[in-house]
Each structure stands twice: as C-alpha cells, then as structure tokens.
C-alpha cells in the first residue's frame, strides 16, 4: 500500500478548514486555490475560509464503491452550491440518502474520509450534513 503522507498533508488547509483563494483583482473565489485566476488571469489571491453552508445542487447515491468506501454504502455524493457562489463536491452524510432533495440546505462537518489500511494514515476532510437549524 503506497504511502501518501506528503500529498495528504499538503491538502490540510483545504480539507480541514475549507480554505479557498479569492482573486484580488476580480474577487472570484476558487476552491481549491489556483496560481492564476481563470476569470481575469490575475495572479494574487487572499485566503478565505468557506462558511461551510450551502445547498444541494445535484447528488447521486453510490451503491458500488471504490476500495475504502465499502462500509458507507449506500452513501450520497453531491455537488453543493456554497453560499459564496462556488460549487464543491463531497459526500452528504447523517441522512437517509433517499430522502435528500435538490435544494436542501446543508452544512459542512469534519469527518473521516479514508485510511491507508489498518496501520496507515487516517485521512480527514469535509463532508456535508443536512442543515437542521439546531
């Protein structure tokens, strides 16, 4: 089993804190961060943390899963339109996937994404849960 310590560690700001890049020239937000803005070709960015709130733009229910995700079947993966206007792909959990609807409000939560075998690194990141207004 290959060890991807550097690659996973490098993604910490995006995966742990949903840090995005806001173009200083045109204010477009990019997640993940980029070196050059595709909208205006600007090259300077400020770091912004996404609020984690958004609504479900589209989703599917995975019933045949890649290695490492078997315990979660059936699980929903969707594209969330964040309140900041950008779209992000992630799992939607803590729900019955069949009851999800496009337009549902969701909020991000820190969850375990995968692990490199029983003795390898645990990989954390963001998933979304229905926003219950608790």
């Amino acid at each position: 089993m290959a060890m991807h310590v550097a690659r996973n560690w490098r993604e910490t700001p995006e995966r742990y804190r949903m840090e995005a890049a806001k173009c200083k020239k045109c204010s477009a937000i990019h997640f993940p961060a980029r070196l050059i803005c595709p909208e205006c070709q600007g090259r300077e960015f400020a770091t912004v943390r996404l609020s984690g709130k958004g609504e479900l733009a589209t989703f599917t229910i995975i019933r045949i899963a890649p290695t490492g995700f078997g315990d979660l079947i059936p699980y929903a993966v969707g594209i969330v339109k964040m309140d900041e206007g950008i779209h992000v792909m992630a799992q939607i959990v803590d729900c019955n996937p069949e009851e999800l609807k496009i337009g549902d409000r969701v909020v991000s939560q820190f969850r375990r994404i995968n692990q490199e075998g029983k003795t390898g690194m645990i990989i954390y990141g963001y998933k979304f849960v229905p926003d219950l207004g608790l």
Binding site: R7, E11, P32, A57, T58, F59, T60, I61, I62, R63, I64, A65, P66, T67, G68, F69, L72, Y75, V77, G78, I79, H87, V88, M89, A90, Q91, I102, I113, N114, G125, K127
Partner: protein, 384 residues
C-alpha cells in the same frame, strides 16, 4: 497542409480477452489494419491508451507496439486524454500526415483492463477525474455521470425510460456487430431493473470493462487516390478541453466541451450538423449519449431523451447514432474506443457494414470524450 485519408482499418474482437496480452491485441489490430490497407511499412505510430501504467505496469507503449509490430526504428508516440486517448491518437496521426512528417501514419488505440482486479481497475479509471477533489470523496464514474443525469432530469424532465432506451438501441446495433463484447439485445425492462450502481445509473446504463484494440492507417489524400480502393477523408477535426472537475462546469446538464469541439470540427469541414448522416458518440453511460446529441446540435437542449424514444437515432432513424453498438454494447477499452469509432465510420462510409449498414452514409462524425467531459475530440469523415 496535406489533406488526409484513411485507407485501412482493423480491430480485435472486444471483450474479456484472457488469452491475449496488451502487446498481442495491439499488434493484432494493427496487422488487420495494415493488411486491410495493403501496406507493410509505416512512417510513424501513435498509440492511444489511457493507462498502461496502472492496468499493466507498462508505460513506453509506443515503443512496445512499434517493436512487436516489427516496425523497428519507426517513431512511436503514446498519447493520453483519458477515455479520449483513441480520438487523440487519430488526431495526432492526422497531424503527422497533414504536416508532411509521415506518409503512412498508423494510429492504434488499445486498453487491456482485465489484468487487474475490479478495485484496481476502478482506481485506474478514477484517475480520469479530479483525483484530489472528486475521487477523494468516494465518487465513481457512474456517479459522476449520475450527477449529470440528475441535473438533466431535473432541468428537462428526461425520464428513466428515455435513458434506458439508449442502451436498448445500442444493444440492438451491437447484436449485429461481430466484434462487440455483448452482441445481444436487451429489453427496456431488463435495463430498468438491472442493479443500481449510482442512482439513477443502473448496470445496464454503464459501459463495461473491456480488453480491445483498434487501428487506422492515415495517408495523404494524393496517396489514397492512387490506390484502387475506397477510402474516407478526414475533413474536420474539433478538439476542446474543459474543467477537470465536474463541479466547476457552468451547467451540469450540458457537455460544453462537446459543443465547442463540434463547432470547431464543423467549421473546419465547412459543414453543419444537418450535413452529417450518422455519428459514433461516446456513450460511456446512457445519459452521455443524450447530452452529446444535444451538444452536437442534433436536437435542442433537453430533447435528447424524447428523440431517442422516438427513434431518431435508431439504425433506420433520421440520424443514426452508434451503429456499432456504442460503448455500451461494443465495449469500452478506454484508449481504444476513439479509434474504433473511426473504424466504424470508415466501414459504414465504404458500405461494408453488412446488417448494420446505414443507407447512403456519405458523411460521418465521431465524438470521443475524456473523463466527465474534460476533453472531447471530434472527427468528421467523408466517403470518397
């Protein structure tokens, strides 16, 4: 720039080819192509394959194929654009001939996917997505296309029956194709009750894991004219890329990459979509065919489903799509598909398609696509 013609085509049977290796199927398809052309020496070889590294622990495939094809010292290139690697191989061979660098440019598409287990095959295919921001979250390829299907169904009311009809039609065509992996028909009910893979994509909406290879030989038009056989001319090429991640596209119910590639190809060929007699398109999942036919302009946005149910794209319809059986029935050895689409186009244009022959086939369009729509390569071919 030289005009470019195709004078030879060949492909292996597609399926789970346990007894044949990566080099076996590459060479078999290439030899069939060279024999078909009546040529025994080429000036360049372009191999389109998505991932010899992950499926076969074998990169450097250009040299491997050149070596085992007995074409020593011939320059060999491997090109990759995920599932559009085959179309890219044809385009690259086209550039060899158009530029004058090669007279006889061979394009081979190949993928040997069954030498790894299902989990590893899925992993290899996942590298066509945005690995860190899509595959990382546990999405699969059926899942990515399911996301588009859900958006398309919500926006246009496309129904599950319409999606299933794509598979029914393509299996009907594939049952007439001796090279197809699944040369049998399926019913609408079979498709709609098959195992759910990623809602709403069911098993029979999805193209399979396949071993297979296909090859075409390209020459300058002047050379083709001197030979005493029919040939097809490539009159238009359109190639475009789009965002690697699905969530960064502007409209999840649209394949904009195909719209752009089609406009470029048609412009180069001096044609409109109305001039095209039939198309081989990239039906990796049933929803893909529906979205592609809309992007090509065969129908208005959102009308792909109804048109399919109404028979527009059937073998005897006004705009036949995937007479070969498409990826669904013929199979989808990822790097080979784009070349096989051109093989089918040429066979149809030559009038050699037998029971699946389209009447008066003079102008063809092939559309190959990578990933969830991050690349697409379109060729327009005309009979001469």
């Amino acid at each position: 720039m030289n005009e470019v013609a195709i004078i030879g085509v060949g492909m292996t049977k597609w399926g789970e080819l346990w007894e044949k290796s990566l080099r076996d199927i590459s060479v078999e398809a290439a030899l069939k192509c060279l024999d078909d052309a009546g040529v025994d020496k080429v000036d360049s070889i372009t191999v389109g394959t998505m991932s010899g590294g992950l499926f076969n622990a074998q990169e450097h495939i250009g040299s491997l194929v050149a070596d085992y094809l007995g074409q020593r010292f011939v320059p060999a290139t491997r090109v990759e654009s995920a599932c559009a690697s085959g179309g890219l191989a044809v385009k690259t061979a086209y550039m060899e001939v158009a530029s004058g660098l090669s007279q006889y440019a061979l394009a081979v598409g190949v993928e040997k996917m069954t030498d790894v287990d299902g989990g590893d095959a899925t992993f290899a295919l996942a590298t066509a997505s945005d690995y860190d921001y899509e595959a990382f979250h546990g999405i699969t390829f059926p899942g990515l296309y399911a996301l588009m299907a859900v958006a398309h169904m919500k926006k246009y009311g496309t129904s599950l029956e319409q999606l299933a009809q794509v598979s029914v039609k393509n299996h009907h065509n594939g049952s007439l194709n001796p090279h197809a992996q699944f040369p049998f028909t399926v019913t609408l009910n079979q498709v709609m009750t098959s195992t759910m893979v990623a809602d709403p994509m069911r098993l029979l909406h999805c193209s399979p894991i396949t071993d297979g290879a296909a090859a075409v030989l390209l020459v300058p038009l002047a050379v083709a004219k001197k030979m005493n056989k029919s040939y097809a001319v490539i009159t238009g090429i359109g190639h475009a890329s789009d965002t690697i991640a699905l969530c960064q596209r502007k409209d999840f119910a649209k394949l904009e990459v195909v719209e752009v590639a089609a406009q470029r190809a048609l412009k180069m060929a001096g044609k409109t979509i109305g001039d095209i007699d039939f198309a081989e398109v990239h039906d990796c999942f049933s929803i893909a065919e529906i979205m592609v036919m809309e992007a090509l302009g065969v129908v208005e946005s959102g009308q792909g489903g109804p048109a399919t149910i109404n028979g527009l794209t059937a073998l005897d319809g006004d705009f036949p799509i995937n007479p070969s059986g498409g990826l669904k029935s013929k199979g989808h050895p990822v790097g080979a598909t784009g070349v096989a689409q051109v093989v089918e186009a040429v066979i149809q244009l030559r009038g050699q398609a037998g029971p699946r022959q389209i009447k008066n086939a003079r102008t063809a369009l092939t559309q190959n696509m990578g990933g969830s729509g991050a690349s697409s390569i379109i060729h327009i071919l005309e009979a001469r």
